[in-house]
Every structure is written in structure tokens, then in C-alpha cells.
């Protein structure tokens, strides 16, 4: 298979990470036609493989006396899906708004497609597509009118506009509703139209700020599929912020974890989870009798026991082997056990280890009951069949 890399600007940044090879597909025919001219097409050209799509150097943003983003260094390769994970208020959206030229950094620098976001915002804007946290649409236009206006503002010729609208509609699947006014759309349709608007000019780099927040499971799955397709079929670099663990786990090639404006960890989801290292037995318990913790810690194979509210987290190298002894020890100590679950480490465990708090307590604890389409944390029943580091799969043991 021929490997190509999209042009992402002329700059080559020191310390840049290797650029993944770009694959080509039928959707590369988007827009059709050839030749470079006003609002036409540009050929896909090779770029230096060490040219990252996004680079930040100590980028920071202050609001009054509060630093929403405080010295973040990033280097994101072209064609990569980068998941930016953090709780509400961690600084995710502020970073996105700086990188897409809506906010000026208070300190540090940011480069997108090789252009300085502070000094060359006009050049940055030509290369990026942005879907902000809330679908930013005009309810009084039809979907088609909105997309056509968007395409006009990017200087696309009429024939290219028509082709691009048709093409992005196949990608985001809005159907005949495209000719209805947007105020008749569901939340999921609005989000998909927002994504289509961000894609209308075939951007090399796509910023998605919490693209699935508030969506129903079906719409969330559709957005995930679209994001995957964009990367695979167009080689688009995707910077994705999310507060959903499974979203980062499923979609991102690499994940950055942000807490209180600081990047506290970065790596592939599997690598991050390996930093936690052990299986986790989670016990929901009633009142904890004296000596129960000590009894658990003394068990063979148990590496650590963390008690948090009504939750005991028993870290064990081989969780399956430790399960029975843990259950027996709890029973022997007189502890009332409401549930007992074995799972592999999650990104929430990584976040917990790094910051001392859960990323998203509600979601982490109730993934099954709230969102049946989301992969819940892995458990023993299915884990046995999966190789180490395999992303979450459904199942349960209580």
C-alpha cells in the first residue's frame, strides 16, 4: 500500500514525533476534479515526516488570577488521534480555543500546521476544522444552507461546494433532514451537522471539543465511527477533548491527561494503564470492621489496598487468583460486601493515581447502567480471553 503523508506546513519542529503513514481511500476523491486554483483543490504532497501537526511549548492561559492552562507542552503527529482527557474545568476547552485562534495564549507558543496561532491566525484557520463543545449552529438555516455558507467562506467554488456538501453528508449521515431547518434537528443530528461544518473545507487538522457530551449512545457511537473514518480515510489529524474514559480509550492513538491546567500524563492508553500495573478488585462494602484492611494487605498476591468511601480497591498482580482469598478475607472480617468486581486498570485508575481523585466518578461507577452501548470496565469473565492491554470489553462479576 502506498504511504503518503498530508502536507501540514513547512515547519519542522525540533523534537517532533514521527508522523504516521497516511493511507488513501476512495474518500480521497472528495470534491473530485483536479488542478489548483481559486477554491479548487491542492495536490496531496509529501511533508517531512517529522513535522508534527500540532505543537505547543509551555502554552498557558490566564483568566484574572487563575491559570486555566498552565504550561502545556504537546507534540502531535500528523494523522494521529490525540485524546485530551480531563474533568470539567481542567483546561481542555481553553487549550482548544487557543489552538483554533479564538483565544490568545497568555504565555508560551502554539503551532498548528506549522503556523503560530498567535502570529499567523489566518493561516491556521485555513488548515483547521473545529467542532466546539456545544454545536455552534444557526437554527434558522437549513443544514444545507449552513454547510454551503461555511464552504463559501472558505473560498470554495460552486462545483466544489456542491461536491463537498454531498461528500460530508455521506460521512455524517444526516439524510433528507439536511434540507430542513436546523431547529427541527435532534441533539445528535446537530452534533453531526456541526462535525460536517467543521469538515466542509477538508481540513488537515480537526479539533473536536467534547464531541459526544450529552449525546445518546447511538449518536455517540456514530460520532466515534465518523472520527475513525476520518483518520483512516483522509489522514486527518484529530485533537479530541473528552471527559469520557472509554472515548479516549477507544479512539485515541495517544492520550494526554490534564488536571488543573497541567498535563500530568501522556502516552498510549495501554501504556498509561500499564503504569498502574495491576489488576483491581473493587469491593463495595458496608461499614469496615477493624482489621479488615490489614487482613487484605496480608494476603499473598495483594500489592495494595485503597479505601475510599464505601469502596475498597485491592490491587493484585493476578486479580483472578486473588479474588477468592479477598472474598474470604472480607467475609472472615465480618465485612458486608455489596458487590465484588475484578477489572483491569482503566484510565480513571491512572488519573486517580496521578491526582488522587477520580476523573469522573459517576461515569466510572455506573457505566453499565447509564449507557449500555459504552464499553464498561473490563472484568474477569472476558479479560481471560483478551491479551494484556486490550481495551475494555463488556462482562461482569458481582
Amino acid at each position: 500500500m502506498p504511504a503518503k503523508t498530508p502536507a501540514v506546513g513547512s515547519a519542522t519542529f525540533p523534537g517532533a514525533t514521527p508522523v504516521p503513514a497516511r493511507r488513501t481511500t476512495p474518500l480521497d476523491d472528495v470534491g473530485g476534479g483536479t488542478g489548483v486554483g481559486r477554491g479548487g483543490h491542492r495536490p496531496v504532497t509529501s511533508a517531512p515526516v517529522d513535522s508534527p501537526a500540532i505543537v505547543t511549548e509551555g502554552i498557558a492561559r490566564q483568566f484574572d488570577d487563575y491559570w486555566a492552562v498552565d504550561g502545556v507542552d504537546l507534540s502531535i503527529a500528523a494523522g494521529e488521534i490525540y485524546g485530551f482527557l480531563g474533568p470539567n474545568g481542567a483546561g481542555k476547552s481553553t487549550l482548544v480555543r487557543m489552538l483554533c485562534t479564538l483565544l490568545r495564549p497568555s504565555r508560551g507558543r502554539g503551532f498548528v500546521a506549522g503556523h503560530d496561532v498567535a502570529r499567523e491566525p489566518e493561516l491556521v484557520r485555513l488548515q483547521i476544522g473545529v467542532a466546539l463543545q456545544d454545536a455552534a449552529l444557526d437554527d434558522r438555516q437549513t443544514g444545507r444552507e449552513l454547510l454551503d455558507l461555511q464552504a463559501r467562506l472558505y473560498g470554495l467554488r460552486r462545483d466544489v461546494r456542491l461536491a463537498r456538501v454531498a461528500q460530508v453528508l455521506t460521512l455524517v449521515d444526516i439524510g433528507s433532514a439536511i434540507d430542513r431547518q436546523i431547529n427541527t434537528y435532534s441533539g445528535g443530528m446537530k452534533r453531526r451537522l456541526d462535525l460536517a461544518a467543521a469538515l466542509i473545507h477538508d481540513p488537515q487538522i480537526l479539533f473536536l471539543d467534547e464531541p459526544t457530551t450529552g449525546l445518546d449512545p447511538e449518536s455517540r457511537a456514530a460520532v466515534w465511527t465518523e472520527v475513525r473514518a476520518l483518520q483512516r480515510q483522509r489522514g486527518t489529524t484529530i485533537f479530541l477533548t473528552t471527559q469520557y474514559l472509554e472515548e479516549a480509550d477507544e479512539l485515541a492513538d495517544r492520550v494526554g491527561i490534564i488536571s488543573r491546567g497541567h498535563l500530568v500524563a501522556e502516552g498510549t492508553p495501554d501504556a498509561l494503564k500499564r503504569t498502574v500495573g495491576t489488576d483491581v478488585i473493587v469491593a463495595k462494602v458496608g461499614e469496615l470492621p477493624n482489621g479488615a484492611l490489614e487482613a487484605l494487605r496480608s494476603l499473598a498476591g495483594v500489592e495494595d489496598v485503597v479505601c475510599r468511601d464505601d469502596e475498597l480497591m485491592v490491587h493484585a498482580g493476578d486479580g483472578a487468583a486473588a479474588m477468592s482469598p479477598v472474598a474470604l478475607a472480607l467475609h472472615a472480617s465480618g465485612t458486608t460486601v455489596k458487590s465484588l468486581t475484578l477489572r483491569t486498570p482503566t484510565l480513571d485508575d491512572v488519573f486517580l493515581q496521578l491526582t488522587g481523585s477520580h476523573l469522573q466518578a459517576d461515569e466510572a461507577n455506573t457505566a453499565n447502567s447509564h449507557d449500555p452501548s459504552d464499553p464498561p470496565p473490563p472484568v474477569m469473565a472476558s479479560r481471560q480471553a483478551a491479551p494484556a492491554g486490550t481495551p475494555s470489553v463488556p462482562g461482569g462479576l458481582a
Binding site: 500500500m1 502506498p2 488513501t24 472528495v30 477554491g39 434558522r140 472558505y154 470554495l156 481540513p203 473514518a229
Partner: protein, 278 residues
């Protein structure tokens, strides 16, 4: 479980050209923004219909209630005297400022500013749509006046100038709500800007000629640009083409220009503040 298996296989094909995005140019930006704004107008009839009905209602009411008294006292044809007031009522304060605030609040304005669009057309495009709308609103009011027996002494050219001058007045007045919309992003503040309409339109020669005004009201009316705008419009209705008519129209144009200099400057300053990255 979430199905992520819908991605089609990747065939072995050569890369195709990507779309070439580029700045569209000032005129395309202006046309695109204006077209969107014009398209919204019939989709929001509630914001247009009152602007048409209210001035016609008050025009007919005022003629019925005050025509004999004021007309006889001031020796004027009150129907002709009040027609410019009705048109000014129709065209003043009609703008897309509320829609602009909605765009700001729901993030669509941000979406537009992330594109390569030039910043000035984001405002001027709306104003172009406003100009088209207010001129369209002036015409039915004018037709009501004609139906009630108003005769244009300056003929068809005067009638056209009457509509154009009214429309440009309506346009420059929109500078105030746009300035407030862009500065505050607050729908309440934009709605409150309508109170500016009252002193500007009523502390003037709205119901009686300037000679009939006395005291502080006469002083205020002397410095109110509306006085000269109404005088110019009335001259187009009641006076045949002559030097005094042209002078009155010239004064009206100067008054509109002076007001516009202030209001449009305020709007442009507010636009600059809004699009300047904080």
C-alpha cells in the same frame, strides 16, 4: 456494545487532491453574510410584522385624532405632514442585532470567526440585509399614505429619494443596537436599546412644525438630527423641486450622515472589540 466496525476497508489507490481552502474575498464574504441574514427575515415573521403594522396603525390613528386640530392650527396637510413620521417609525430600530446576540451566545459567531472570513463583512453583511428590509418596510407605509390621498409634489423621483433616505436613516440607526449587541452579547441590553428610539423620534417635530414648538423642546429639537430628517422627507412630499427643497433634503442627508458617523463608529469599535482575540 458500541459498534466501531463500520469503517470500510482501505483500498490501494493513489492519493486524490485535497480541497484548497482560501480566503473568499471581501465581496463574497459580504454577500454570503448578507444572504444568510436576508434569508432569515421571512423565517422570523414575528420580528417584521409588528414593524409594519404599528407605524401604519399610529399613522391612521394620528390622522384621525389630530388632523383637524393640528392641521387647522398649523395650516398644514396633516396626512402629508405625518407620512414621514410613519415611515421613520417603520424603519427605525429594525435590525438583526438580536440575531447577532443569538449567534454570539450559541457559539455560531465563534464558528464564523474561525473561518477565514474578514471581520468587517460580519457586521456589514447584516447591515446590508437591514437596509433591504427597512426599505421594503417603507414602501407599504408609503402606499398607505398614497391611498389616503397624500400627493408627492416631487413626483416619482422624490418618492424614490424618500424611500432611499428613510432606508439609510434606518440603516445608520442600526449602528446603536449593533454596538450594544457586539459590546454586551446580551439580548436584554439589545432590547433595551429600543428606548433610544423615543427621545430621538419624539423630541422633534413629530407632531407639529418646529415653529409651533416652544421652550426646551424647541431647543432639543434644534439639535436633534431627526428634526432635519423629517424636514427633508416632508419637503419631498409637500414641496415641488426647488432650492429650499434641495436644501432641506441636503440637511437631512447631513443629519443622517452625522448620526451615522457616530453610530457606525460605535458599532465598528464594538466589532473590533468582539473579534479581537482576548
Amino acid at each position: 456494545m458500541t459498534n466501531l466496525a463500520a469503517v470500510p476497508p482501505v483500498p490501494d489507490t493513489p492519493p486524490a487532491p485535497r480541497v484548497q481552502a482560501r480566503p473568499a474575498g471581501f465581496l463574497v464574504d459580504l454577500y454570503s453574510v448578507a444572504q444568510r441574514a436576508v434569508r432569515q427575515i421571512p423565517r422570523e415573521p414575528a420580528s417584521v410584522i409588528p414593524a409594519l403594522i404599528v407605524p401604519i396603525f399610529f399613522y391612521v390613528l394620528n390622522i384621525g385624532a389630530l388632523s383637524k386640530v393640528t392641521g387647522a392650527a398649523a395650516h398644514i396637510d396633516f396626512k402629508s405632514f405625518e407620512l414621514p413620521v410613519a415611515v421613520v417609525f417603520a424603519v427605525t430600530g429594525v435590525s438583526r442585532a438580536s440575531s447577532l446576540v443569538t449567534d454570539i451566545q450559541n457559539g455560531y459567531f465563534d464558528r464564523l470567526t474561525i473561518t477565514p472570513v474578514r471581520r468587517l463583512p460580519l457586521l456589514l453583511g447584516l447591515m446590508m440585509a437591514d437596509l433591504a428590509l427597512v426599505m421594503a418596510l417603507a414602501v407599504p407605509v408609503l402606499l398607505v399614505g398614497l391611498a389616503l390621498g397624500v400627493h408627492f409634489a416631487t413626483g416619482i423621483p422624490g418618492m424614490i429619494l424618500f424611500v432611499v433616505l428613510s432606508g439609510i436613516w434606518g440603516l445608520v440607526f442600526t449602528g446603536l443596537p449593533y454596538a450594544i449587541a457586539l459590546k454586551t452579547g446580551n439580548p436584554g441590553a439589545v432590547n433595551a436599546s429600543f428606548v433610544l428610539f423615543f427621545p430621538i423620534t419624539f423630541l422633534s417635530t413629530t407632531f407639529v412644525p418646529k415653529a409651533a414648538l416652544e421652550g426646551w423642546l424647541r431647543t432639543v429639537a434644534t439639535y436633534n438630527p431627526m428634526t432635519y430628517i423629517l424636514a427633508g422627507l416632508r419637503a419631498l412630499v409637500s414641496e415641488p423641486w426647488s432650492f429650499p427643497t434641495v436644501t432641506a433634503v441636503g440637511d437631512a442627508i447631513l443629519a443622517v450622515g452625522a448620526f451615522g458617523l457616530v453610530s457606525i463608529s460605535l458599532a465598528l469599535l464594538a466589532l473590533r472589540g468582539r473579534v479581537r482575540r482576548p
